[in-house]
Symmetry: C2
Subunit: 431 residues, 2 copies
């Protein structure tokens, strides 16, 4: 059991029914797609298809209509009172990394099914039609790119993307998509498989992949935005190699000392921006002297490092990037080194819809749950929906030990709290 | 021509004779041991033996007595007026790295021969016997350890050292030593081949392997000491890996940011110590995240780096090492990382003899040359002689582009200035 922050016990309706459904589905998914260590549901592969089948069968058993769309995703429908209006979509993905956890992705699909099934059982007829999407192809593990399922829906996959190959089988994404029934010819033409104007909202519940909710003692968080990023895969700091004993400080052009100072200055800027309330994280995940020429007794002439800044705000990303360039210039001048940048790579942030976020928070408060903001540092299908112009919202559920590993640990009580918030927000919107 | 600092043109006696000898010998060495790119005189190998032969033949032609000692080094003798007194030794080494330069080592041997030959030609009879040593086996390039020739003289090579192998031929140091006539059985027993009490001084001229004399516009420098060092081959900073987007600053245990801060703090301490007049250089030549697990989007959980501090002063080495330990502890606590140290490796500094250093400086001033101090950051045979209790002194000659490469560039005028200082200092001592 996760230790909760002290608070009143929340009053959750439908909890017992949700718990039974969730326990049954998670157990079935684990039994079918377990690999002995974790679970494996390869994107556009066997485990993913099996997971879709498990959820579809359960949905039909609960009296809901199921179909596969042109992207071979599972779509579960609860017809609304005014079916000509744009429908409300919820869901997440059912694929996983190899030897991953059972909840990354699946939690959002199970949550959506619990909400639709609950409405169906209680005879609640929403104004707009509700659709649950169990998406394929969100994880980048198999084909080196993420959000293939949602990107295919909006016509964003290129022919080059479709030629990406699974390193293990050597098969292309196009071939694997075709196997499971995707309309690959339409995808290849960039034709949208789903008309964004027909979608009134996208609501996604997902486990948190970071440690914030655990550290803050919160069962859930309402996502305010999905961080974008600016990256350089490899910045080269070029100084001058030399004998470590024979060159004094004033004649050195040491690439390690220069880059260490750069990182330390970026750390100070980061701290200042946080103090001023900006959302930002900075990482240099790959960093090293050149194995071809480095030695203990040699002043390092070259360091190569990756640079990544992430923020929910485009302005903050650019502001930090400006500081980065300035520091490269100043430290370069000061220390006689040059920072050579490779191509800048960008990924746009996605903002969650203000109205839906407000509704989620109100629902949480109404249930006696905390309504705290949390940014999403990792990417999600919700970013693709949001950037397609669809009002989107996300609920994060507390999860220990990160994701993409078999040790991910979501407490069922936390999950049920997230489902309750989702249900209440949809009810408020659809009365 | 190197640009000299503005000063009166020095008055050098014997310059023309020294120049002719030096040009002849350097040309002969280059012709015999050139490899097409640089020069190669492998330790206890063919090129080294050829170089010894060239110098021996020239010494005999100049009327000097030559022999090989039990270490197979060339010894050239000019008998003194009181031959029972401890003799004065000068010289350097004749081996080189592969594709190295012609002056690293050889300059000191040629300088010694010029002094002995000059005395012989002018009928100068010193009080004490003068011996020139053309040493073998100074470079670590072939067998992975340096100063084999001088260490063998003082009984410092171990049986394990003798089993070190040349990576190219696979042959042991012992076998290669035996080939050229070293009394390997005595070396293996740790028996000194030279009685340190018989040696009154060791005087070595060497090209500077760093850029200080070039940068300061000085043709020569008088070495005050040879830096020792404290090292860790690999310090491991252990933090925690995590998703670069999903973990906020306050929950990070980023090994790159922690180690960057450590290096930056060490840099500040270094600057402070220099401002307070300490001799110290600090280097982290090998630095990197773990290629097995690093990624652009992953907070680095591990960094491994080498640490090296060098100083002429044992006290300064230990003081800096204390600061290093303190910073590891403070930054470790602050950032939730741990710095794990491997075995500490030490090399003792060597102090040059005060009386001989004074004599060198006086000689330089008498010749209209600058008499500036310079520390030796690189190791030299002189450190082995000094730590064997023999009063030792070194003259550095300005040299561009470092050593251990074919581009090393010593100006003949600078070399002749060094020879003149050596001669004048020996004259003063032996009158």
């Amino acid at each position: 059991m996760t230790i909760h922050a002290e608070q009143e016990e929340p009053v959750l309706s439908d909890t017992a029914r949700d718990r039974a459904l969730a326990e049954e589905l998670f157990a079935a998914l684990r039994a079918k797609t377990g690999d002995g260590i974790g679970i494996t549901r390869a994107s556009y592969g066997e485990g993913e298809s099996a997971a879709l089948d498990i959820v579809a069968a359960k949905a039909r058993a609960l009296g809901l209509k199921t179909e596969r769309d042109a992207g071979a995703n599972l779509v579960v429908t609860l017809e609304g009172r005014e079916p000509d209006l744009p429908f409300l979509a919820c869901g997440s993905h059912l694929d996983s990394v190899r030897q991953g956890g059972n909840f990354d992705g699946a939690a959002g699909v199970v949550a959506g099914l619990a909400v639709l099934a609950g409405f169906r059982a209680d005879g609640v007829a929403p104004r707009r039609t509700l659709k649950l999407y169990a998406l394929r192809g969100e994880e980048s593990a198999r084909f080196g790119m993420a959000y293939m399922g949602s990107n295919a829906l909006f016509g964003h996959l290129t022919p080059a993307d479709l030629e990406a190959r699974d390193a293990r089988s050597g098969r292309t994404l196009a071939a694997c998509m075709r196997d499971v029934g995707v309309a690959v010819e339409r995808v290849a033409k960039g034709e949208p498989l789903l008309d964004a104007k027909r979608v009134g909202a996208w609501i996604e519940l997902h486990i948190e992949q970071g440690p914030v909710l655990v550290a803050r003692g919160l069962p859930i968080g309402i996502v305010t935005g999905i961080r974008g990023n600016l990256r350089h895969r490899s910045v080269e700091c070029v100084g001058e190699a030399g004998h470590s004993g024979a060159v004094p400080r004033w004649l050195r052009r040491d690439a390690v000392f220069a880059t260490a100072e750069l990182i330390t200055h970026l750390d100070r800027h980061w701290r200042t921006m946080l103090e001023r309330g900006r959302d930002v994280v900075v990482t240099s995940g790959v960093f090293g002297t050149d194995p071809q020429e480095h030695a203990i007794a040699r002043i390092p002439g070259i360091v190569r490092f990756s640079f990544e800044v992430r923020s929910q705000s485009k302005e903050t990303l650019e502001a930090f990037y400006d500081l980065f360039l300035t520091e490269c210039g100043l430290i370069g001048d000061e220390r006689g080194v040059e920072f050579k940048l490779d191509r800048r790579i960008e990924s746009a942030p996605a903002t969650m819809d203000a109205e839906w976020t407000r509704r989620m928070k109100k629902a949480a408060r109404g249930l006696g749950l905390p309504d705290e903001d949390i940014p999403s540092g990792a990417g999600h299908d919700a970013a693709v929906f949001a950037n397609a112009g669809i009002p989107s919202a996300m609920i994060f559920v507390r999860n220990e030990q990160g994701s993409h590993n078999p040790r991910e640990a979501m407490d069922m009580d936390d999950f049920l709290a997230g489902v309750a918030v989702m249900r209440a927000a949809l009810k408020e919107a659809e009365q």
